[in-house]
């Protein structure tokens, strides 16, 4: 009956209770939507950047990330890729080899990273081929073709059809030299890629650098970045099995990770402010309702209710109020988020700017258990914890003093 009493007590002042609940519900709904939108935006940013070239994850020889020598290879890439195909979140994998070479056109030469790619698989991972602005991307039948970043082509003063001379060091230390025909120029919007990267067919790379089927990178992708993130444990286990290192999105795009961390820190302060303001407004209302009932608490003490029981009843009222208010808020937040998750949000006039960064014009919130419950939970927990204030006041009540109020 104490529970029933607590529930009925919160409805003594229905308008006040409804307003308190509405305040909590709107704040909770706002938190659910804002957090989902923030995570959705991060996901789009990460996915867009990683899809340009790197993939959602990469396997490399240990130490390759810190010191990317061509000699640090994956010796049995086909077996690794066969195992990767068994992991549900991984929809495609691709072998790549990388060498740092000198590219020359006549008397002009520039250092570049040449990436050997198998276009049959790599097109599923990298969007670079869709970013070819002049000519065409590599295709599976190419033998001596090369595609360059726009900056690199400009620096070398190359045009489509020109021959590019490549000079590097093979796996066994011998000179790796080749002459390749420029078939396409890409513009990714990422300066490092556009100024330094060239793509050649993997088979040609293998031959020129004497790789004997070994590769430097196995890149993977999935339908969603989160699928790959969720498979992290399996992917790391696979890396251990082959004596390799697995690089997740954070290791592949540390700049994005830092930017997200910074943005999250700023947003956290904003969310915290919102929660603190709402919690103290609600707490003030609840404390008022406790003060108003001091006489009644005196009667309850007189008939034998213990101070701690009255305190618990008041605490239960706060829990009920916050659970109902935040429950409504969660449902409202889910509904709003799901709507925009389906239809997206367009920031008019920003599409050209976003396109430069490979980002889409339409952003979608991403509802998750975390984004749904973290904000409302913070409100509920704060109210429950701060409920100790009215609880302690009730504990200190003397029956006569209370009844005379």
């Amino acid at each position: 009956m104490i529970t029933a009493l607590a529930w009925r007590n919160i409805w003594r002042q229905p308008i006040r209770t409804a307003l308190s609940m509405l305040g909590m519900a709107l704040t909770s709904a706002l938190l659910v939507f804002m957090l989902s939108f923030q995570f959705g935006s991060y996901d789009i940013m990460k996915s867009s950047v990683l899809r340009i070239s790197q993939g959602f994850g990469q396997f490399q020889a240990k130490g390759y990330k810190a010191d990317p020598e061509t000699a640090k290879t994956i010796k049995n890439a086909p077996a690794l890729r066969a195992d990767l195909a068994k992991i549900p979140g991984v929809t495609a994998s691709s072998s790549r080899s990388v060498a740092f070479v000198l590219l020359a056109n006549g008397e002009r030469s520039f250092a570049a990273a040449v990436v050997g790619v198998d276009m049959k698989d790599d097109a599923k991972i990298s969007k670079l081929s869709s970013m070819v602005k002049q000519g065409r991307p590599l295709n599976a039948t190419d033998t001596n073709a090369i595609v360059l970043g726009e900056g690199l082509a400009r620096n070398l003063r190359l045009k489509l059809g020109d021959t590019v001379t490549m000079l590097g060091s093979g796996l066994d230390g011998s000179v790796a030299a080749d002459a390749l025909k420029l078939v396409g120029i890409f513009k990714s919007g990422v300066p490092e890629l556009d100024r330094q990267v060239a793509h050649v067919p993997l088979a040609r790379f293998d031959e020129a650098f004497g790789m004997n089927g070994q590769v430097n990178i196995v890149a993977i992708t999935g339908n969603r970045l989160n699928d790959i993130v969720n498979d992290g444990r399996k992917l790391n286990a696979l890396a251990d099995k082959y004596g390799l290192a697995y690089l997740d999105w954070g290791a592949l795009a540390p700049g994005i990770k830092q930017a997200i961390t910074l943005d999250m820190s700023t947003a956290f302060i904003m969310y915290l402010t919102l929660v603190v303001v709402v919690v103290f407004i609600i707490l003030n209302t609840l404390y008022m309702s406790v003060l108003e009932r001091t006489h009644e608490f005196g009667i309850l003490l007189a008939i034998g209710m213990k101070p701690a029981q009255i305190g618990k009843m008041v605490w239960a009222e706060m829990i009920f109020l916050s659970l109902v208010g935040n429950g409504i808020g969660i449902l409202l937040g889910i509904a709003i988020t799901l709507y925009f998750q389906k239809y997206g949000i367009v920031f008019k006039g920003m599409d050209a700017i976003y396109a430069q960064w490979g980002l889409p014009a339409r952003f979608y919130p991403m509802l998750s258990t975390f984004s749904t419950f973290i904000g409302p939970s913070a409100i509920v927990i704060s109210i429950v914890v701060l409920g100790v204030i009215p609880y302690r006041r009730v504990l200190g009540l003397e029956p006569v003093e209370a009844m005379s109020s």
């Binding site: 104490i2 009493l5 007590n9 003594r12 007189a302 213990k306 006569v400 009844m403």
Partner: protein, 228 residues
């Protein structure tokens, strides 16, 4: 016969120094089982203060109070709550009941605090309401009851745990003559039938007419204590 209430050298002083007010002065009093007593006196004579002391709601400045042989001085707040729950019933002047509970629930609430099972609670509460003439009003909330009916519910609640004593502070103050008389008659009947001990703080002559013992307070002292 062992007294239900025993007060020895009871004093109560409010405030300190020159502003202090002595509400009770060296009061010695014994209430015996089956007493139906009024505690009368003008406003400020110390009636409510003495009832509060007897009801374990307040502590004396000096002196001792014992209920059913148990001294109150050494008890903490929780133990005093327990004592009130099991041994004392209260009827106050007004605003006695919990507004969000029905008449029956108000009575059941005491039994729930005592840990009685649900079925027993409901049966006893219905019986108690019937006993005070409120059969059929079990599900009405206090706001839907008249002042007299509310006081009857308060009496039923006070009696539901078979307490050693029922203390009523000005129970008829807000009632019209007819309703007041009905309430006093009810309490008197319960005293006669069940032997329940009542101490009623009042300055209402209609109440005093019905009681078997009349204790008169004046300036914090017992000026007169007569039995009829």
């Amino acid at each position: 016969m062992q007294p239900i209430v025993s007060c020895r050298g009871l004093t109560k002083t409010y405030g300190k120094g020159a502003l202090s007010v002595q509400a009770l002065r060296e009061v010695d009093l014994e209430i015996l089982p089956g007493d139906f007593a009024t505690l009368a006196g003008p406003s400020g004579s110390g009636k409510t203060t003495l009832l509060n002391m007897i009801g374990a709601l307040d502590k004396p400045t000096t002196g001792e109070v014992a209920i059913d042989g148990q001294a109150l001085q050494s008890l903490n707040a929780t133990a005093l709550s327990d004592l009130r729950l099991h041994k004392i019933g209260f009827v106050f002047q007004s605003l006695n009941l919990i507004p969000v509970l029905s008449a029956q629930e108000n009575i059941e609430f005491v039994l729930e605090l005592q840990g009685r099972p649900s079925k027993e609670r409901a049966e006893r509460a219905r019986e108690a309401l019937k006993n005070v003439g409120l059969e059929g009003m079990e599900h009405r909330r206090p706001a839907a009851l008249s002042g007299g009916q509310q006081q009857r519910v308060a009496v039923a609640r006070a009696l539901i745990s078979n307490p050693a004593i029922v203390l009523a502070d000005e129970p008829t103050a807000n009632l019209d003559s007819k309703t007041a008389l009905e309430l006093i008659s009810l309490m008197y009947r319960l005293n006669q039938e069940n032997g329940t001990t009542f101490v009623i703080g009042t300055h209402d002559p209609r109440v005093m007419e019905h009681t078997k013992r009349h204790i008169e307070l004046l300036d914090g002292k017992i000026a007169n204590d007569t039995r009829r």
